[in-house]
C-alpha cells in the first residue's frame, strides 16, 4: 500500500526550481530581526528579503498574508528514516557501521516531520554503544531517493553514548552480576565507559601515527606497503583529524565532564552533547570546551539519569555561552519543535529570537551547515516553514514548507487531496479482495 502512495506522492513532488515570491508575511529571519515583507526565491536560494520587493516576471506567488515565515526547522537528533534497527549493539565500539547504509526514503516519518516544519535532520545511530555508528544529515526531500535526501557537503558525524544505555546494552542485569551472564558485554559501568573510549582512541592514535608516517613517506616518493585499513579506526582517525563530528548522548554531569576531559586529553572536540539533561550543572565546563548542547525542553523522569532534568536547562547553558538547540529524538516530538522553542521562553526567559534560533540557526551551527541554512538571509538555501499563527505557540500550525525553494508540503493541498487518496486506496483494497478470495472470519461472539 505504501508503495502505491509513494508513487502518487513522487508524481506530485516538485520538479524544477523556479522563481517564487512569498508576500505579505511576518518574516522571522532569526539572524536579522523580524520584518513584514516578502522573500524572493531564485534557483533554490533566497535572493532577497525586504519590506518591498519587485516581483520578477513569471514568479510564482505565495500570498502569506497574516502568516509567519521562519527558517526551516532543524532537528539535531533524530532516528527517522532508519530502516530497521539503528543499534549495532554487539560491540561497544561500532564506529565501522554507518546509518547512511540503511536510509529508507519511504519512511512516513519523513513526511510527518516535514508537515511539522522540519527541513533538515541529523540522523543518528542508537545509544547502545560507548562509541556508536556514523551519522549523517538529511534534508526532508520527501519523494526523492535516499541519495537525493542527503544534505550535500554536510560534515559526517559519529554517535557516542554515555550512562545508562551503553551500560545496559548486552547486560541484562544492568551491571551488577552482569559478568556472570553469557551475553555480558563490557562496559557495565560509567567507569568502564570512560575506559572503553580511551582504549579506542589509544588504538586510533597509534593507527593514525602509522598512516601519517606512511603518508609522509609516500609524499616523498617512497614506495611502501601501506598499513592495513581498519574501518573501525578509520572513523576515529577522522575524529582526531577534525573531519568527523562527535555527537555524544549523555545525561549526568559527571559523565559529561568525563567525556570533555577524555576529548581534551586526546586532542579532539566534542561537537555536540546530545540530551545533556544535566548540562546546566556543568555549563561552564561545556562552554570552555566549546561543545554545543542539544537538549529536550521538558522531558524528565523516564529514567534515573533523567530525574534531575529541568526545563530551564537550555536557558542556563545559553547563559554560560553554550550554543544550544532543542531536539526531538522522537518522530512525534519532531513535529512540533517550534513549541519546544516556545518553552525556552517560558522556562528561563530566553528571548524570542534566541528561542527560535534553538530550532533553526543553532542546530545549523552545531552541524556546521549554518552557511547554507538556519536563517532567512539572501544567499542561503530557501528552506522555509510558513505558519498560520505566531510560531512559538501551540495554536500555530504549518501551512507550507519549502526546501531548496520547492514546496514539499502544502496543508491545503494535503487536506483537499485526502478524499481522492482514500478513494484510490479503497479501489486497490477492493481489487486485492477480488484477486484473493478469502474465507469469512468467524463471527465475533456477542460481547
Amino acid at each position: 500500500m505504501t508503495k502505491v502512495w509513494l508513487a502518487v506522492l513522487i508524481a506530485l513532488a516538485p520538479l524544477g526550481a523556479e522563481t517564487t515570491v512569498i508576500r505579505n508575511a511576518t518574516i522571522m529571519t532569526v539572524s536579522k530581526g523580524t520584518l513584514k515583507g516578502s522573500i524572493v526565491v531564485k534557483d533554490g536560494k533566497i535572493s532577497e528579503v525586504a519590506e518591498k520587493v519587485m516581483d520578477p516576471a513569471g514568479a510564482k506567488i505565495i500570498d502569506a498574508g497574516g502568516q509567519y515565515v521562519i527558517p526551516g526547522i532543524i532537528d539535531c537528533h533524530s532516528h527517522i528514516a532508519g530502516d530497521g534497527n539503528i543499534n549495532e549493539g554487539s560491540v561497544s565500539v561500532s564506529s565501522m557501521v554507518n546509518i547512511k547504509d540503511i536510509i529508507n526514503p519511504e519512511d512516513i516519518a519523513i513526511f510527518r516531520a516535514l508537515a511539522g516544519g522540519v527541513t533538515t535532520a541529523n540522523i543518528l545511530h542508537g545509544s547502545a554503544n560507548s562509541i556508536g555508528g556514523q551519522t549523517l544529515v538529511l534534508k526532508m526531500r520527501w519523494g526523492k531517493d535516499a541519495q537525493g535526501m542527503i544534505f550535500e557537503g554536510a560534515m559526517p558525524g559519529i554517535k557516542f553514548a554515555l550512562g545508562e544505555n551503553p551500560k545496559r546494552a548486552g547486560n541484562p542485569q544492568g551491571g551488577r552480576g552482569a559478568t556472570e551472564t553469557p551475553q555480558a558485554r563490557y562496559p557495565a559501568t560509567r567507569m568502564g565507559i570512560e575506559d572503553t573510549i580511551r582504549e579506542a582512541f589509544d588504538e586510533a592514535k597509534t593507527y593514525k601515527a602509522e598512516w601519517d608516517a606512511y603518508d609522509a613517506k609516500a609524499a616523498r616518493g617512497e614506495h611502501l606497503i601501506p598499513p592495513r585499513k581498519d574501518l573501525k579506526l578509520e572513523a576515529l582517525k577522522e575524529v582526531l583529524e577534525g573531519k568527523r563530528y562527535v555527537h555524544a548522548h549523555c545525561y549526568r554531569a559527571d559523565e559529561i565532564l568525563m567525556l570533555l576531559r577524555v576529548a581534551d586529553d586526546y586532542g579532539f572536540k566534542i561537537r555536540t552533547l546530545q540530551h545533556v539533561l544535566e548540562g546546566y550543572k556543568v555549563a561552564k565546563e561545556i562552554a570552555a570546551h566549546g561543545a554545543g548542547a542539544s537538549t529536550f525542553s521538558d522531558w524528565w523522569s523516564y529514567k534515573v539519569e533523567a530525574f534531575d532534568a529541568i526545563p530551564y536547562n537550555a536557558a542556563i547553558m545559553q547563559k554560560y555561552g553554550v550554543v544550544v538547540s532543542m531536539n526531538s529524538d522522537d518522530a512525534e516530538l519532531m513535529r512540533h519543535l517550534n513549541t519546544e522553542a516556545g518553552k525556552a521562553m517560558k522556562y528561563g526567559g530566553v528571548s524570542e529570537t534566541e528561542a527560535l534560533a534553538m530550532v533553526t540557526l543553532n542546530p545549523a551551527k552545531q552541524l556546521g551547515i549554518d552557511k547554507r541554512v538556519g536563517s532567512i538571509e539572501a544567499g542561503k538555501d530557501a528552506d522555509l516553514a510558513i505558519f498560520d499563527k505566531y510560531p512559538l505557540s501551540d495554536y500555530a500550525k504549518v501551512q507550507k514548507v519549502l526546501i531548496d525553494g520547492n514546496v514539499y508540503f502544502d496543508r491545503d493541498q494535503d487536506v483537499s487531496g485526502r478524499a481522492a487518496k482514500q478513494a484510490e486506496k479503497q479501489k486497490l483494497l477492493d481489487k486485492e479482495k477480488q484477486s484473493q478470495p478469502r474465507q469469512q472470519p468467524p463471527r465475533r461472539p456477542g460481547a
Binding site: K303, V304, K319, D394, A396, A447
Partner: protein, 447 residues
C-alpha cells in the same frame, strides 16, 4: 453582650480559617460555565467561592490579593494519569501501577499515592489542581502495564480523583473511587505496524512465530470476553445474596468492590481505542446496565454516533500523538478532539503519562489549532472532567458554592507563554516551587 460574643466568635472563626479565606480583587474572571467578568472580585471563604462581583468589599483584616491585569480560571484537571503511583517510569521500585491478577476491582489507586512525589509540584506550575490517577496507565500498547501482570489485566482497580497537593492521600482525595478501570479485551498481537495481530498467512512465513498467530490472539480474546461476563454474573449473584442475607453468605472483597459499579454509582472507565473495541464496550455496558466512560479512543468516526446516542463521555488521550497507521492523515490525533466535538460527544483530556501531565493545557491548545473551538478546549480540562467524574457540583468552574480550586494567570492558561502566578486548592495557596525550580536557582548561582 450576646451579639458581641457572636462577633467575637466570627472573628475567631475568620482567624482560624484565614488560610482559606480571602478576597481576590480587580481580576478578570473566566468562569468557564459563563461569560467572562472583567475587573471583579472573588470572595473565598472556608475554601469555597462565597461570592463573585464588582462591589465586594473585604471585611476588615481579611487578606486581599490584588489581581490587576491578571485572570482567574478554575484549576485544570487531567483525566488520565498515574500521578503519585509512578515516580521514575523505568524503575520498578518506584512504580506501583500494573498489579498482578486479571480481575482486581478491590485495588485502590488512592492508597498508593505518595504525596511527596516530585511530579505534583511540577504539574502545579502549569495550573493543574487535580488529576485522575489510575491503577494502570490504561490501554494495551499505550505504555501501560509495563510491570507485573499488567498485560493480562482486565479490571485493574479503582481510579481516584485527587488534588495535586495535600499532607496525606486521605486529604488529597476528591473522590476516592471515581471510576473502576477496565481494559477491554482486544485481539492483541505482537506487532505489525498497526499493533494488531499478524495474520496467519504472514505468520507461516516466519519461523517459530506460531505463538503469536491471529487464531491464537482471537482465542485469547474470546476467552477474556467469556471471563469478563462470568465475573459480572458472579458479582450480580453476590449482590443478590448480600441483599437478602442469604444463608452461608461470605464477604468477598473482589465482588464487594463491584457493587458500586453494578448500582451505577461508580462508572467503569474502559480503555478501548479501536472502533470495534468501543462498540463491544458499549454493547457490554448495555447488557450489564452499567455506566461507562471510554478512555483513549483513537477511532471515533465509526463510534461517535453510538457514543452520542448513549450519552457516553470519552477521555481523549494525548493530542500530540502519531497517527495509527502509515496511510492515516498526519494530523489524525490533532483533529480527533474537533471530530468528537462535531459529533456531539462529551469529552475531557488526559495525558496518560506522568511526564506529559504538565503539558495538558498545550495539548488542548493544539486541538484548537486543528479545529476545536477554544471554549470547548478549556471546558475539556475543567468543567467536563469534573462532570464526567461526578464532582461537577464541587469543581471545574469559578462559581459560587464551588471549591476554590483556582489559578491566577497572566493570560490564557492554554498558551505556553502564560505564567501561573498563584494557585489555590480548596482556597489554600500552594507554592509554585518544585524540585526543578530549586535546581534552577541553585545552579544559576553556581560560582
Amino acid at each position: 453582650m450576646k451579639s458581641l460574643g457572636i462577633l467575637m466568635g466570627c472573628a475567631i472563626a475568620a482567624l482560624a480559617a484565614s488560610n482559606d479565606t480571602f478576597l481576590i480583587r480587580n481580576a478578570d474572571v473566566y468562569p468557564v460555565t459563563g461569560a467572562e467578568m472583567k475587573g471583579v472580585s472573588v470572595l473565598i471563604q472556608d475554601g469555597k467561592i462565597a461570592d463573585i462581583g464588582v462591589k465586594l468589599v473585604a471585611p476588615k483584616g481579611m487578606r486581599v490579593v490584588d489581581a490587576k491585569g491578571l485572570r482567574v480560571y478554575p484549576g485544570m484537571i487531567d483525566s488520565g494519569t498515574e500521578l503519585g503511583l509512578s515516580e521514575i517510569s523505568s524503575v520498578r521500585e518506584t512504580v506501583d501501577t500494573g498489579e498482578l491478577g486479571e480481575f482486581m476491582p478491590q485495588l485502590r489507586a488512592l492508597v498508593a499515592v505518595n504525596p511527596e512525589s516530585e511530579h505534583f509540584g511540577v504539574v502545579r506550575v502549569n495550573g493543574i489542581t487535580s488529576v485522575m490517577t489510575f491503577p494502570s496507565s490504561g490501554g494495551r500498547g499505550g505504555g501501560g502495564g509495563r510491570f507485573g501482570g499488567g498485560e493480562q489485566q482486565l479490571i485493574s482497580g479503582q481510579a481516584a480523583l485527587i488534588h495535586t497537593d495535600g499532607w496525606t492521600w486521605e486529604e488529597m482525595a476528591v473522590e476516592r473511587s471515581a471510576a473502576m478501570h477496565l481494559l477491554f479485551p482486544i485481539i492483541a498481537g505482537r506487532g505489525g505496524r498497526g499493533g494488531g495481530a499478524i495474520p496467519d498467512s504472514v505468520l507461516e512465513l516466519i519461523p517459530g512465530a506460531a505463538g503469536g498467530s491471529y487464531t491464537q490472539a482471537r482465542r485469547t480474546y474470546e476467552q477474556q470476553i467469556v471471563k469478563l461476563n462470568d465475573f459480572f454474573d458472579q458479582a450480580r449473584q453476590y449482590q443478590k445474596e448480600r441483599a437478602v442475607h442469604a444463608p452461608g453468605f461470605k464477604t468477598n472483597l473482589k465482588l464487594e468492590a463491584m457493587i458500586p459499579v453494578l448500582e451505577g454509582k461508580v462508572p467503569m472507565a474502559v480503555s478501548a481505542s479501536r472502533a470495534s473495541a468501543i462498540h463491544d464496550a458499549i454493547a457490554f455496558a448495555d447488557k450489564q446496565n452499567i455506566k461507562i466512560v471510554i478512555l483513549q479512543p483513537r477511532e471515533l468516526e465509526k463510534a461517535a454516533a453510538e457514543l452520542k446516542a448513549k450519552n457516553i463521555p470519552v477521555i481523549l488521550g494525548r493530542v500530540l500523538a502519531l497517527p495509527e497507521t502509515e496511510d492515516d492523515p498526519y494530523d489524525q490525533a490533532f483533529t480527533l478532539p474537533a471530530e468528537a466535538y462535531k459529533a456531539g460527544v462529551k469529552f475531557a483530556f488526559g495525558t496518560f503519562n506522568n511526564e506529559f501531565v504538565r503539558n495538558l493545557p498545550y495539548q488542548a491548545a493544539t486541538a484548537v489549532a486543528f479545529g476545536l473551538p477554544y471554549d470547548e478546549a478549556l471546558k475539556a480540562v475543567t468543567i467536563n472532567p469534573a462532570q464526567i467524574w461526578g464532582v461537577g457540583d464541587r469543581l471545574g468552574s469559578v462559581e459560587k458554592g464551588k471549591w476554590a480550586d483556582l489559578v491566577i494567570a497572566t493570560g490564557d492558561p492554554l498558551e505556553i507563554q502564560t505564567e501561573i502566578k498563584h494557585l489555590y486548592i480548596k482556597g489554600k495557596e500552594v507554592g509554585l516551587t518544585n524540585k526543578q525550580t530549586r535546581l534552577y536557582e541553585k545552579y544559576m548561582g553556581r560560582e
